[in-house]
Structure formats: C-alpha cells, structure tokens
Symmetry: C2
Subunit: 103 residues, 2 copies
Amino acid sequence: MSHFQHHVFFCLNRRDEGRDCCACHDAERLQAYAKDRVKQLGLAGPGKVRVNKAGCLDRCELGPVVVVYPEAIWYTYVDEKDIDEIVESHLLNGRPVERLMIE
Amino acid sequence: MSHFQHHVFFCLNRRDEGRDCCACHDAERLQAYAKDRVKQLGLAGPGKVRVNKAGCLDRCELGPVVVVYPEAIWYTYVDEKDIDEIVESHLLNGRPVERLMIE
C-alpha cells in the first residue's frame, strides 16, 4: 500500500537563461497555496495526501506542471481556481481533472 | 501509461534546529550520484527514469529516504553502494531491493 494515497509533486524549477520554466509561472506561490488547501480540508498526512516541492520535472515546455502519484497523472495549471479543482476533484473526491491533464 | 517508467524522488530537506534530516545524511551528494549513474547506464529520459530532488517527504525519522513511483516503493540508504543497488536492481532490472525498503 502506498504510504500516501496521493503524493503530489510541483515542479518549482527556475531558469534564468531565458528558457521557460515552472517558477516563471508562479509555481512557488501555487504550490504553497495547494499545500494550505490540502491542510484546510483535513487531507494532509500519512494515508492521505502529501504536497511536495520538486526540482525540474523535465516537462518545461508544458509548464507549470504538477504530477500526482501513484496514479502518475500530470497536470498543468494557471491559477488558484485550477489548483482548487485539482485538490477538490482529484485529491478529495478521487476524480481526476480531465481539462487540466497533460499526457 | 506513466510518463516515466520510474520517477525517483530524493528528500533533500535540511533542518537546522537539531532534528534529524535527510540532508544531514549526505542526501544531496547521493542524489547527484544516483542521477549520474542513471545517465551513465542510458536510463535517463521519457519512458525511462527521472531522478528528482524533492522537499521534505515527511519521513525524517527513517531518513535519508527516497521514493520510487509509480510503484510507491520507499527506501533508505547509506552510501554509494546502496544507491548502486537501487539503480541496478530496481531501476535497470525491475527488481526492488528488499533489504533497503521501508514501509
């Protein structure tokens, strides 16, 4: 059994040499927001959900990206509204958010 | 299908307030070592293996820890020898390393 029901990794990579990057799209702020929302909903902890920071997930051209394991579902997102939908639909209710998925 | 066959996250969290932490056990150096070994073996890339840095995985008392998804297999490790075994047995040959697993 997985130690976390959903283990969520936000790419927070920052590139300064002109290439696009997740941190250029507010990933740090929105990772913190997701972590707070998960905590507020009582979802945080072993057997439940963990929201983590991660280094470059190597999908820069599709960023900002987040991946949810063990389902291996990848998302892109724009703002708090997208994060809310991922948290409430996928993490709380087990229904992945098709409109934000990337392959 | 998972974008990476094996997605490996090393906890690199550093605590300065006296609590034990993964970075206190050489996690940064050994994550870089693992990433290099994966590259040397030709395992790095989409459809294959990605070795990532991660923030605190919240298993400090068992650290240093690394988790491999989508299998959700957690390991602790001590040195290069342990990393070699994880890379060669699990990531290259698909045989998880029982002696290093944590639940």
